[in-house]
Every structure is written in structure tokens, then in C-alpha cells.
């Protein structure tokens, strides 16, 4: 479904991705963990063409991702993205945020889009917030609207870029439980996260990235419980036992 082969990416002289090879199969949930600045978000951004890459290949459902080609718009409707800072459209209500893509990009009939928009808002537990503007919603609610907006495009996969990092701790749970429900429904998900509990419970596989390379990967249980590489061990020790 999503495949990265030896992907290299530099920002100026700094090489952030030094040959990333990874794949996500259909209905698989893959979590990417690792220290800040290791290139986790950049990997996601290369998958839907928000960033270009210099070498290697990124494939989404058999189409090569190239930022400057017209095929990129089609790819982006197949892989939606959820951002750390939600990035909802502040001038539109929750419902309008959700139906924006279906109506204006996919050209679905308005009435259908609205009906499904309401369904999706209900699915993320915000049925009664359809007419609220983003500024009237909590961070957790905004992020759930953002997830509904991503789902509205009926994507084959969703990329999550640290979806809970900007949230107050007590709001994280609501967002994670929505994500867990998606995973149970068989959505293909690539998730950059610091929530090790979520990774352990929901992810099929976990990649540990450091310094622009995949240091270690494996099933969630094995990587998080018995990491082999000393860098993974060190990272997990710091994250799980910060004191």
C-alpha cells in the first residue's frame, strides 16, 4: 500500500533521511517512534508529497509519489493526513471543515456530503458540535474534527503526524480511542507518535528511527518490550522512565 525504498532527503546541507526503507500493508497500523529531529515527520511528509525527496522511491498504491506532478493531488486524496497542530480551517464550522474536500475536490453532491459529514462527526463523538467553529472547540475536539475531515476523503490510508503532542494530557485519551477504533475498522495507518502505550496496544509494527535511518523495526510487542539495539533501548528507557 505504502512503500519507501532507500529514501534520501536533505534540508540544505543537513541530510534528514539517510536511506529509509519501510512499508505499510493494507489495514496495517505502523507506528514510527524516535527522538525529536530524527526525521519521523519528514517521512510522513514525503509519503503525501508535502516534501520532495532527492533519492529513492516512495510508492502509494503503485503510483510513484512526485511532488511536482499532477498525480500528487490524486495521491493526496488516497492518503489523508492529520497534523500535530490540527490545521482546521478557522473560518469554517466543524461540519464545513469535514465536507470541504468531498464537495470541492471530489465534487460529491452537497446533500450526500453533508449527510456523511454528520455521520463522521458522530463517529468521532462530536455529533453535537457540527456548527461550532474551531476556536470554540478544545484541542482534543479539534483533532477529532481533523480526523473526521481526513476520513471524509474516503482515503485508503491516513498519516498521523504526532496527533496528540499538542494536546493537554487529559484530552489525549479521546483522540487515541478514536484512532484505535479506526484501526479496528481496518484503516491503514502510519502514525508518528510518542504515545508508547498506544503503539504497544494498537500498532502491528513499530519502526524506531534515529539520525535519519531505521535503527530497528519489529512487531509492537517485541520492539517495545525487548529492543535489540542499544539506541532503541536507551530511547525507550528515557521515554518510559523519564525520572
Amino acid at each position: 500500500m505504502i512503500e519507501l525504498r532507500d529514501v534520501h532527503k536533505s534540508f540544505g546541507k543537513i541530510e534528514v533521511l539517510k536511506g529509509i526503507t519501510a512499508s505499510v500493508a493494507k489495514s496495517e497500523v505502523v507506528c514510527i517512534v524516535g527522538p525529536s529531529g530524527s526525521g519521523k515527520s519528514t517521512i510522513l511528509r514525503c509519503v503525501n508529497g508535502l516534501e520532495s525527496y532527492e533519492a529513492g522511491d516512495v510508492w502509494v498504491e503503485g503510483t510513484r509519489v512526485e511532488r511536482q506532478t499532477s498525480s500528487i493531488h490524486a495521491i493526496r486524496t488516497k492518503v489523508s493526513m492529520v497534523f500535530q497542530r490540527f490545521n482546521l480551517f478557522p473560518h469554517r464550522t466543524a461540519l464545513e471543515n469535514v465536507i470541504e474536500g468531498p464537495i470541492h475536490v471530489k465534487r460529491e453532491p452537497r446533500r450526500e456530503a453533508i449527510a456523511r459529514g454528520h455521520e463522521l462527526l458522530a463517529k468521532v463523538g462530536l455529533a453535537e458540535k457540527a456548527t461550532a467553529f474551531p476556536a470554540q472547540l478544545s484541542g482534543g475536539q479539534q483533532q477529532r474534527v481533523a480526523i473526521a475531515r481526513a476520513l471524509a476523503m474516503q482515503p485508503s490510508a491516513i498519516l498521523f503526524d504526532e496527533p496528540t503532542s499538542a494536546l493537554d494530557p487529559e484530552l489525549v485519551g479521546d483522540v487515541l480511542s478514536v484512532m484505535r477504533k479506526l484501526a479496528e475498522d481496518g484503516m491503514t495507518m502510519l502514525v508518528v507518535t510518542h504515545e508508547m502505550g498506544f503503539a504497544r496496544e494498537v500498532a502491528d509494527r513499530v519502526l524506531f528511527i534515529d539520525g535519519g535511518i531505521v535503527v530497528e523495526q519489529g512487531t509492537a510487542k517485541s520492539l517495545l518490550s525487548q529492543p535489540q539495539h542499544p539506541r532503541t533501548q536507551d530511547f525507550l528507557r528515557r521515554v518510559l522512565h523519564p525520572l
Binding site: 508535502l50 493526496r76 489523508s80 497542530r85 490545521n87 480551517f89 478557522p90 475536490v105
Partner: protein
């Protein structure tokens, strides 16, 4: 005071004819400068080098020439190239072009003030450049742009008086003509000033309204 009121009733009808032209010149050049300014701003943020460079050059060229010279050029020089404009056309065109540079910079600032995350969010639901502009960026930029836009409207209203230099019989020129034929400078120019002020006040209130609205966020 009594004398002033008597003069006022006498000159008002002629000055009001001028007001009509003042409003026409202001509105005409406002529309033109807005359209051109939007075009320059779009070119500037298009990400296409040739377009943004062309736009930057045009803006600097326009900004670097005084309005009055631009008006003279359009009205007195263009006929040499076979393009003859009426004074009114030249005035609207000149002021419209001159102000398009300021409008463009204002619009660009508004567009660039929008968080990059908004563009990315639009892109990730498959929107192209134009759709992103139309549905996401411009509606948000309008709020930021409106207060300075209102100020430009006030400046244009006052600068429409420069059209008098190319024989457009708007308020300032009518005033000057009456003053030079009656020698009642005080009455006439006080009246002219009051009339400009009267036209400005609604605009000033409009700007305040925009500012309050933009402040709410």
C-alpha cells in the same frame, strides 16, 4: 458666519457637480486598483519565478513614480503613441495603476500572514493551488487585509483631487475655479475641505468597523 452660509448656498450646486466626479474617479480607480493589485499579488505568491519577478518589478516601477507624473504621462504623452484618453479615463487609469502597487503589497502581506499549516491542510485533502487560494487562503486573508484596504480607500478619495491637474472637473478643481473667479478663497476652500471630510467620515467609520471585526479573529 452668515456670509459663509450665503456663499455656501451659492457655490454648493457647482461643488456638488465636482463631488459626483470625485466619487466616480475614486470608485473607478478603487475597482481597477483592487483588480490589478489582486493580480500582482497572485503573481507574486504564485511560486512561479517569472511571474513573481515580473510582479515585483512592476510594483517597484509603479511605486517609484509620483501619481501626478503618471497622470501627465497618460494624458499628455500617450497621445504621442496614438492612444488618446479622455481626462476622466486617464484619471481613473492613472490612480488605479498607482494604487495597485499598494493594494498588491497589502494583499500579499495578508496572504503571507496565513499559517503555512493551512496550505498544507488544503493540499492534503487534494486541493490544487487555485482551489487552496479561493477556498482557504483568500477568505482568511480578507479579514487581515480589510482595515488597511479601508485606509487605502480614504487615501484614494483624497488623491482623486490630483485628477484636477489633468482637467477633470472634480471637487478640488471646481473649488479652484470658483475661488479664482470670485476671490472668495476662505469660503470656497473651507467648503471644499468640509466636503472631503464629509465623504471621508463614513470611510473612517468603516475602517473602525473592519478593525473591530478583524480583532475578534
Amino acid at each position: 458666519m452668515e456670509k459663509f452660509l450665503r456663499d455656501a448656498t451659492e457655490f454648493m450646486p457647482i461643488l456638488l457637480q465636482g463631488v459626483g466626479l470625485t466619487i466616480l474617479v475614486t470608485l473607478g480607480s478603487l475597482v481597477l486598483s483592487t483588480l490589478l493589485g489582486l493580480l500582482w499579488a497572485m503573481m507574486r505568491v504564485s511560486g512561479i519565478r517569472v511571474l513573481s519577478w515580473t510582479s515585483a518589478c512592476l510594483i517597484n516601477l509603479i511605486r517609484g513614480i509620483p501619481i501626478i507624473v503618471l497622470l501627465f504621462y497618460l494624458y499628455f504623452v500617450m497621445p504621442d503613441f496614438g492612444i488618446t484618453l479622455t481626462a476622466l479615463q486617464a484619471a481613473i487609469l492613472g490612480l488605479g495603476i498607482a494604487y495597485s502597487a499598494y493594494q498588491a503589497e497589502n494583499f500579499r502581506a495578508g496572504i503571507e500572514a496565513i499559517d503555512k499549516g493551512q496550505i498544507e491542510a488544503a493540499q492534503t485533502i487534494g486541493m490544487g493551488w487555485w482551489l487552496t487560494m479561493r477556498r482557504v487562503i483568500l477568505p482568511q486573508a480578507v479579514r487581515i487585509v480589510l482595515p488597511p484596504y479601508g485606509n487605502v480607500m480614504i487615501m484614494m478619495l483624497k488623491d482623486s483631487s490630483q485628477a484636477s491637474t489633468i482637467t477633470v472637473a472634480e471637487l478640488a478643481l471646481q473649488g479652484k475655479l470658483i475661488a479664482s473667479s470670485t476671490f472668495k478663497n476662505t469660503s470656497v476652500f473651507t467648503l471644499v475641505a468640509l466636503m472631503y471630510l464629509t465623504m471621508s467620515i463614513p470611510l473612517i467609520l468603516l475602517v473602525r468597523h473592519f478593525e473591530k471585526k478583524a480583532g475578534k479573529g
